[in-house]
Each structure stands twice: as structure tokens, then as C-alpha cells.
């Protein structure tokens, strides 16, 4: 195995493979920076090129691009409050407030470093788990997947939000919105209200970009001034602060490892996706922090956690794809298609005949993250001063880019209307009235898949599917998690009454 890893590393550094990896890295970073464009567009751009190459070059190019897309997106999430990809949403929550306080370079440095180190950890875990992952993935059936989704949503609501009632309301709304369109099992249209556009359901890009980015643009335009209200905005100072961001990540090394592991685990479970990994990691970071009240107002941990999970999950996603041919994400499904085009069958063969190729892919994930971070460090110091430009210049530019990003999925103007509807929702429900957005997005992303698994579980195991051993464990965890806010509240009340008796401040 070590010999194969060494051969694969040497192979990556040969002329063509290295050049193609860098092409993938640069394409991924550029697409990550442009809102709404992500891995799919990258694959679309690269696929016609890579099909002329040998399998290693082709897979290295696509994987390198995919590994760094979110690194590019994290920079715009921090500096402009616009998530470059859906997976950068959680980075906006604390990265953008930090930028508004004049700590944009620090947050950007932390985001890039956490992405790179998270990606490296993901690759290491990929190396380590390749031989032992099979029982883990095979243990998860449809019922377990449904309960896992519920657990993920409950985690985000309980851990990341101050008011669980509002969190569960938003999760419920996200779930309902995810059910819009044709039912995957029966084909029956639901909540389409006579509109043909809704038959296919709502897409992620318009919903997320509207809620998070356009709503921010509206408030920004109304407030005027500049995005960053403090800090110097000079390139040299930005470079120093970027390095401080890197040091901040090293100081929070435990959080980095914890978030990366969350990313890998969520990545291994097919269908949960990157957005879930980042939001769960964010929730866990908030819950574990001594200064959890700072989250949402500019806590550096709130940047490190989602970014580490974001890139580390790529290692996890690759595992089921390579080991069983079970695609963990959309881009991985396309990667499977590329395997088949080249006559490679994922499965046991990947760990025997094609082990060097498998190792090349693991190395690509690791190296692409390092090179991607290095390039972003060089570019970011020049992007930071842009946040000192007047909103009058930035807002129209960013808004038009967001609109094109929303339009880019299906070239439908209806997607722009959806963007505006969700922008109003994000602006007034989330930003003005404190309804947390994270549970909505998570439920929206996972809702359809959760329902599919719920119905298959009922059909195959009956209504008591949750009594299977792993399901039962997940169910107990879910109940404990739901009971946690009540216990926490009870503890706070008892502490405050004790404090009052002693004449101290109530907590």
C-alpha cells in the first residue's frame, strides 16, 4: 500500500499530471469565486478536455477542480457575504460580520487555511479508511439514512440556534419547500399551485443565493457606505492579517480536527452532502465554544469549523464512490461516469488492480488543497481592499453576478423570481426577525432524499423500521438531542435562581 502511495505521488508530479492538476485547481478557484457556479459547471467545462487524456490525468483534473471549488467560494463568503457555492453558506454567518469589523483578511486567512488543512485531514482519513470503510457504509439502510437526516437537522437547530422554536419552524418550512414538485415515488405533483415551473421543484442556487446574498445586498444598499467599516484595507497589512488567520487556525487545532472528522463522516454517508457537513460542523463548534454567544456576530471559530468540514468531506465522499460505486454527491456521480467511460469499474478492483489510481486521487485531494490555498493566499490580499470600495459600486456588480449565477442552472428567468422571493424571506425572517437560516437550508437540501428513504424504509421494514439496532441508537440520540434545550433551560433557571439567592447576576 505504501509503495502504491509512493508511486502515485511520483506520478502526480510528472509533467502532464501536474499541469492538469493545476488546470483543475485554477478552474475550481475561479468557479468558486463566481456565485452560483460550482462543481457541476466545472465538470461541464473540463469534461470535453479530459476525455482525450489518460484516466489518471482525467480524474486528477476533475478531482483537483472539485476539491478547491469551496476554497474559492469561502473568500467571497467572507469578503462580500456572498457564498460562492452552497457549501459556503455557513462561512457567511461569522466571516462576513468579521469583515464588517475590519477583520476581513484575518477571516479570509482562517477560511483558506482551514479549507486547506481540512482537505489534508480528509485525504489522510481517506488513506486510512480505504480498507475498513465497507462495514460502515453497508450498515446504513434507508431507515438509518432518514433518522440520520433528522438527527442532522435537529443537531443544527439545537446546537446552532438560540431559540429552538424558531429553528424548528425554519426546519419545517425548509422541509415543506423541499417537497414542492413531483413526488419522487408516485409522480404526484405537490404544492405546484398550477405553475409548470414548480413541477421540477425549487433549485438550490436560487433559494440559497436569494436568502443569503441578495438579502444582504438589499440591506447593504439601504445602509450605504462601505462593507468594511474598520481596518486599513492596505495590501501589505492584509497579507499580515491573512497569516494571522492561518495562526488562528493552528491555535484552534482541536476544532479543526473535530470539524474535519465531522466533514469526513458526513461525506461518507451518501446523499447527506457538503452543506450538511458545514452546517453540522458550525453547530458543533458553537455548542463546544465557551463564547457561543459570539457566534453569528463574528467568531473566528464560526469560520474555521465550516471551512474545515467543507474540504475534508471530499475525502469522505470519495470513499463510497471508489469502494462501492455509490456516489456520495452529484459530482461524484459524474466521476463514476468518467470511470465507466475509461472502462474502470468501481469496487474491490479500485483497491487491488487500480490501487495506484486510487492513491493518485487521494494525493490529488491533498495536493489540490495545498496549491489552491497557496494561490488564494496570493490573490486574497488584493481582494480584501475591494471591501473598502463604496457599496454604490460593489452592490450592482455583485447583484448582477448573483442573478447570472441563479440563472445559470436552467437558464430560466423563473429562477430569478424565486431568488427574489427567497431574498425577501431571508431579509425579513432571518436578518431582521432572527429566524435562523441554517435549519431551513439543511432541511431544504435533505428533505426530498429523507422522504424517499422514509417511504422505502416503511415499505421494506414496516412502520416500526426505527426498532432496528442502528436506527434505535439514532432514535435515542435524536430524543436526547430534542430534550437537550429543555434540560439546558432548566439548568439556566436553577442557576439564575441560585444566583439571585446569593445576590449575584443572573446568567
Amino acid at each position: 500500500m505504501l509503495e502504491a502511495a509512493g508511486t502515485a505521488l511520483a506520478s502526480i508530479f510528472t509533467g502532464q499530471h501536474f499541469a492538469m492538476m493545476m488546470l483543475g485547481v485554477i478552474t475550481g478557484l475561479v468557479l468558486g469565486i463566481i456565485p452560483g457556479l460550482g462543481g457541476y459547471v466545472g465538470v461541464a467545462l473540463l469534461l470535453p478536455i479530459v476525455l482525450y487524456m489518460d484516466p489518471t490525468s482525467a480524474l486528477v483534473t476533475i478531482l483537483a477542480m472539485h476539491a478547491v471549488v469551496t476554497t474559492g467560494g469561502s473568500v467571497t463568503a467572507v469578503l462580500f457575504g456572498v457564498p460562492g457555492t452552497g457549501q459556503n453558506v455557513a462561512t457567511v454567518f461569522d466571516g462576513f460580520p468579521l469583515n464588517q469589523q475590519g477583520k476581513g483578511a484575518l477571516a479570509t486567512g482562517a477560511a483558506i487555511s482551514a479549507s486547506a488543512l481540512g482537505g489534508l485531514i480528509g485525504a489522510v482519513v481517506l488513506f486510512a479508511l480505504i480498507p475498513v470503510v465497507r462495514p460502515l457504509v453497508m450498515a446504513f439502510g434507508t431507515g438509518e439514512f432518514f433518522l440520520m437526516v433528522m438527527l442532522g437537522i435537529a443537531c443544527v437547530v439545537v446546537m446552532a440556534t438560540e431559540t429552538p422554536v424558531k429553528g424548528f419552524i425554519m426546519a419545517g418550512l425548509g422541509f415543506l419547500v423541499s417537497l414542492i414538485g413531483q413526488d419522487v415515488a408516485t409522480g404526484a405533483p405537490r404544492f405546484v399551485f398550477g405553475l409548470n415551473y414548480l413541477w421540477d421543484g425549487l433549485k438550490l442556487n436560487p433559494v440559497v443565493l436569494g436568502q443569503v446574498a441578495i438579502s444582504e445586498m438589499v440591506l447593504m444598499a439601504a445602509a450605504g457606505g462601505t462593507i468594511a467599516t474598520a481596518g486599513s484595507g492596505k495590501v501589505r497589512l492584509a497579507q499580515r492579517e491573512l497569516f494571522e488567520g492561518f495562526l488562528a487556525v493552528l491555535r484552534h487545532w482541536m476544532l479543526l480536527i473535530k470539524s474535519s472528522i465531522i466533514g469526513v463522516v458526513v461525506g461518507i454517508i451518501p446523499g447527506l452532502g457538503g452543506e450538511a457537513a458545514t452546517l453540522i460542523a458550525y453547530g458543533a463548534a458553537k455548542q463546544g465554544s465557551r463564547e457561543s454567544e459570539k457566534f453569528g456576530t463574528g467568531a473566528i471559530e464560526g469560520v474555521i469549523a465550516p471551512e474545515a468540514a467543507n474540504n475534508s468531506k471530499e475525502g469522505g465522499v470519495l470513499l463510497p464512490t471508489l469502494a462501492f460505486g455509490v456516489a456520495g454527491s452529484g459530482v461524484m456521480a459524474i466521476l463514476l461516469g468518467v470511470f465507466i467511460i475509461f472502462g474502470i469499474t468501481p469496487g474491490k478492483q479500485m483497491l487491488t488492480d487500480y490501487l495506484p489510481l486510487t492513491m493518485s486521487m487521494a494525493w490529488t485531494v491533498a495536493l489540490a488543497n495545498v496549491f489552491g490555498a497557496a494561490i488564494m493566499f496570493m490573490i486574497a490580499s488584493y481582494l480584501v481592499p475591494l471591501t473598502r470600495l463604496p457599496v454604490a459600486i460593489l452592490m450592482p456588480v455583485i447583484t448582477i453576478l448573483i442573478m447570472i449565477g441563479s440563472y445559470s442552472t436552467y437558464y430560466s428567468v423563473s429562477d430569478l423570481v424565486t431568488t427574489l422571493v427567497f431574498a425577501a424571506f431571508g431579509c425579513y425572517a432571518w436578518k431582521k426577525c432572527g429566524y435562523p437560516i441554517a435549519p431551513f437550508i439543511l432541511a431544504f437540501i435533505l428533505g426530498e432524499e429523507a422522504e424517499r428513504n422514509f417511504r422505502v424504509a416503511i415499505a421494506t421494514h414496516g412502520p416500526l423500521f426505527f426498532l432496528r439496532p442502528i436506527s434505535l441508537v439514532l432514535l435515542i440520540l435524536l430524543v436526547l438531542l430534542l430534550a437537550y434545550p429543555i434540560l439546558r433551560r432548566g439548568r439556566k433557571v436553577s442557576r439564575s435562581s441560585a444566583g439571585a439567592k446569593e445576590g449575584g447576576m443572573s446568567v
Binding site: 418550512l173 445559470s408 431582521k432
Partner: protein, 194 residues
């Protein structure tokens, strides 16, 4: 954070949304497709009612605010309304006249009328965004940016370059970048095999 009155409006709007969803459930033709929407919708409705009661029990904060703050709030609402109006008009124009025509006009409009920038700055900004849009999205990513319901712009670079318009305009307009690339890739593969 907003006033109690705004919170009440928002909670009622959310409540209304969930009620609309719940009222639509009986129209779903297949009974098994109704189960999860009904469970989730009912639970959300109950939580929203709890939240609404809490919001309506809270005292109105606006009554205690001074005139300055009220004036500031009205001015803020007016400014936000201006942005919303611009966004709605921009989307309507994209629908009618395409991105190619709308983007420069829309940028000049917000820059001049809303932000009160000079003509020179507004024109330069519009030109910059237009050029970036055409190069990155039109030429590189081959997006059909020149399609409006009233005006099909001749500046649709993707179509000009590929000559796809003349063959099957209706189909091509619905095909995404991804689909086109896949189709092209498989064609390449087939050609190589043959």
C-alpha cells in the same frame, strides 16, 4: 433587529405560508404522497402558533421610541423599497429584453437614480459589468444571455460561435451548460471509437 410590529408581520406571513401549504395537501392525488407533508406541515403550524402567541404577547417597542428613530425607520424602509423596486424591474426587463440589454440599463439606473453617482462613473461601471458578463458568461461559459421574450439580442455570443440557434433554437435554449458538454463529450468519444 426589527420592532415587535415587524416581527408580528413576519410571523403572520410565515403562518399564512404554512396554512397555504396545508390547504393544498387535500389536492394531492396520491394518498401516500400526503403523509410527510401533513406531518411536517402540522408540526410547523403548531410551532408557529406558539411563536405567534409569544410575539403578540410581547409589548410594542415602537410606542416608546422617539421621533428621530421613527423618521430613521421610515427613511430606511423607503431606501429598502427602492432596492426591491430596482430588483423587480431588473428581473422583468431580463424576461422581456434579455441580460445583454438589461444589465447596462439596470446598472446605470441604480447608479444614477439611487446611489446618485455621476454619469461618467455610472457608464463606466455599466460597461465594466457588461464586458465581464459577455466574456465570462457569454463567451467562456456559453450561456444564452441574449434571449428575451420581446427581443432576441444578436449579441448572444454562445449561439454566434456555435451556430446552434439556426438548428434548434427552442431545444438549445433549454439545454444547460452541463448537458451540452456531456452531449459533446459523448460525441467526441463516439467519433474516437468509430
Amino acid at each position: 433587529m426589527s420592532s415587535t410590529a415587524e416581527k408580528r408581520v413576519v410571523v403572520m406571513a410565515l403562518l399564512g405560508t404554512v396554512v397555504v401549504f396545508l390547504l393544498d395537501i387535500p389536492t394531492i392525488e396520491v394518498s401516500s404522497s400526503r403523509i410527510l407533508p401533513l406531518i411536517i406541515g402540522s408540526a410547523t403550524l403548531v410551532l408557529l402558533v406558539v411563536q405567534a402567541i409569544a410575539e403578540f404577547r410581547a409589548p410594542l417597542t415602537e410606542q416608546s421610541t422617539g421621533t428621530d428613530r421613527a423618521v430613521r425607520r421610515i427613511s430606511n424602509v423607503t431606501r429598502e423599497s427602492g432596492v426591491w423596486l430596482w430588483l423587480i424591474l431588473t428581473v422583468a426587463c431580463i424576461y422581456l429584453l434579455s441580460f445583454v440589454v438589461t444589465v447596462p440599463v439596470s446598472i446605470i439606473a441604480i447608479s444614477r437614480l439611487y446611489f446618485r453617482r455621476s454619469w461618467r462613473e455610472s457608464l463606466l461601471l455599466a460597461l465594466f459589468i457588461w464586458v465581464v458578463m459577455m466574456l465570462v458568461f457569454g463567451l467562456w461559459l456559453e450561456m444564452p444571455l441574449g434571449r428575451g421574450i420581446l427581443l432576441n439580442s444578436h449579441l448572444d455570443l454562445a449561439s454566434m460561435r456555435n451556430g446552434l440557434d439556426s438548428r434548434c433554437p427552442a431545444a438549445i435554449s433549454k439545454v444547460g451548460v452541463w448537458d451540452k458538454a456531456i452531449a459533446r463529450s459523448f460525441q467526441v468519444k463516439c467519433n474516437r471509437t468509430l
